[in-house]
Symmetry: C2
Subunit: 306 residues, 2 copies
């Protein structure tokens, strides 16, 4: 307990919280001005993001129904945009991902965290890039303006990135830097940047003319801070979704209702992504381990005190 108390009492928290508050305000201001409406997050659902890596399941039972804790709101984001009057939506969405304990020392994993999770209807990845580029630049500008004393006290220098942020293809980076290209390029970079085309969850759109090419992407923080945002254009056709679920050995029964909606042709064509708040604050405030940007750390495999 003493350790948990000392953690909370650290002097730097007030500075990090002011930086976080400014960054959050900048995000809300920007998205509001862009006409992206904010819906409230959901914690329990019959089906959530399957995720494409090993982790433990988290569910509770309520009136005989098994409900999963949200790993991401991807399915709900798509369903929201099925409303004809809603074209742009975002959620401040806590995600619970019971990760394996070996991720403890990565410095950037928490088993619960919040993402600002955005989805746009009938838009392309290029349009999404433009929206996010503007959001990131606005966050930098606002934090630099509002928190100069805090940044100085934390010995953190930030400069507004030049837009548009650079876009790299994963294949080219892999050829040049090997399997750990993300880390290598993040360490060298001065500004955040995009990488496109990753093989991952079923819902990211695969090119029909060019199998194995995925219209998805990450934003990577520079200076070795790693992943900032993850997203993609989405699959909307029933047969593609089922094919990709099978390829990934996803338990199709868990997605019965979602697949029924897809079969009716109702899943809208969307593009989007989620930006991790704690990872953003870690980068903005220059903290080595993500635990230091939270008062109540939720580090994989660590015992929770409060």
């Amino acid at each position: 307990m003493q350790e948990a108390l000392s953690h909370i009492k650290q002097d730097k928290h007030q500075r990090i919280l002011r930086i976080q508050s400014a960054a959050l305000k900048a995000i809300h201001d920007y998205l509001y001005r862009q006409g992206v409406v904010q819906a409230m997050p959901i914690i329990l659902s019959p089906a959530t993001d399957p995720l494409n890596h090993p982790h433990f399941e988290a569910k509770v039972e309520y009136y005989g129904q098994k409900l999963h804790l949200t790993k991401s709101m991807i399915l709900h984001k798509q369903l929201s945009l099925l409303n004809d009057g809603i074209d742009k939506i975002y959620f401040m969405s806590p995600n619970v991902r019971l990760e394996e304990g070996k991720l403890r020392e990565s410095g950037r994993h928490l088993f619960e965290f919040t993402q600002v999770d955005i989805e746009l209807k009938e838009k392309t990845k290029k349009e999404f890039f433009t929206l996010i580029d503007g959001m990131i630049a606005h966050v930098f500008r606002f934090v630099i303006d509002e928190c100069s004393d805090d940044l100085k006290a934390l010995d953190r220098k930030l400069s507004v990135p030049r837009l548009p942020l650079k876009v790299y293809e994963s294949d080219e980076l892999r050829k040049k830097h090997g399997e750990h290209f993300e880390r290598v390029v993040s360490e060298k970079a001065k500004d955040p940047f995009w990488i496109t085309n990753f093989r991952r969850e079923f819902y990211d759109r695969e090119d029909k003319e060019r199998r194995g090419y995925f219209h998805n992407y990450d934003v990577i923080w520079p200076e070795g801070y790693g992943e900032a945002l993850s997203g993609g254009e989405r699959e909307w056709e029933h047969d593609e979704i089922v094919r990709k679920m099978k390829e990934r050995q996803t338990d199709i029964r868990a997605y019965e209702t979602y697949l029924e909606v897809a079969e009716k042709g109702l899943i809208p064509r969307t593009v989007g992504g989620g930006l991790g708040i704690e990872r953003m604050v870690r980068f903005l405030s220059g903290q080595r381990h993500i635990r230091d940007v939270t008062l109540f750390p939720r580090v994989p495999g660590e015992r929770i005190v409060f």
Copy 2:
């Protein structure tokens, strides 16, 4: 499933979401200007609010530890303010409260919802009232300015309440209107108002000179919409906390760590409260049932489709 799809597709959602987005922006703007820092919500903890009414428990296990889904962040709010540099804090905090199915028709219960949960150190309830009065007035002003078309389309008339909001004592209202005074006064009122002094959870401060008098309060929406905010000055002394836990038959073992902190005299003197977002949006947009302000309703006892 057809019903859940029809629910999502309702035309009015876009209007309600714009009203919600404006209200949320107004809250963030106001609290930012007041220097209240925003911390990120927690979903899983070893101990959460016990709540003072019947409901089902929700917990998951992770690396051998039982973790409860947050019913409110009251304990975490107190612990945050143990940091010497943090005096005012808020969380946009999803709460999971697995309520009994009989609350289904109340029109204002969801088994998960979000509250803006605020806590101030070394302040009194009067100072908290002033902060919240200002926040509510700012929300009304901003929503009326930004959403006039949407309010009109929903046939909803709002006017900015006169400040300070009225403060009533529960005892006087009970004498005058009987046990259901809250509903009676809410139905008659034109503006939101405060009611003080309720017997409830252990953490709300009971007057030492006047046992049975509690320094806590609710804000009530007018026009019969009922509870908006709930809060209080808090207990901070170990012996008082234990005495009140025993009175309420709270399982003390579940709060061992928290009580250790209290025993060291570390719990700060705070005051605060949480305002329910979905209930606020229900009132602002004039919806009969709270399900209508959510795309994915979580009504007690109802089967969840998405």
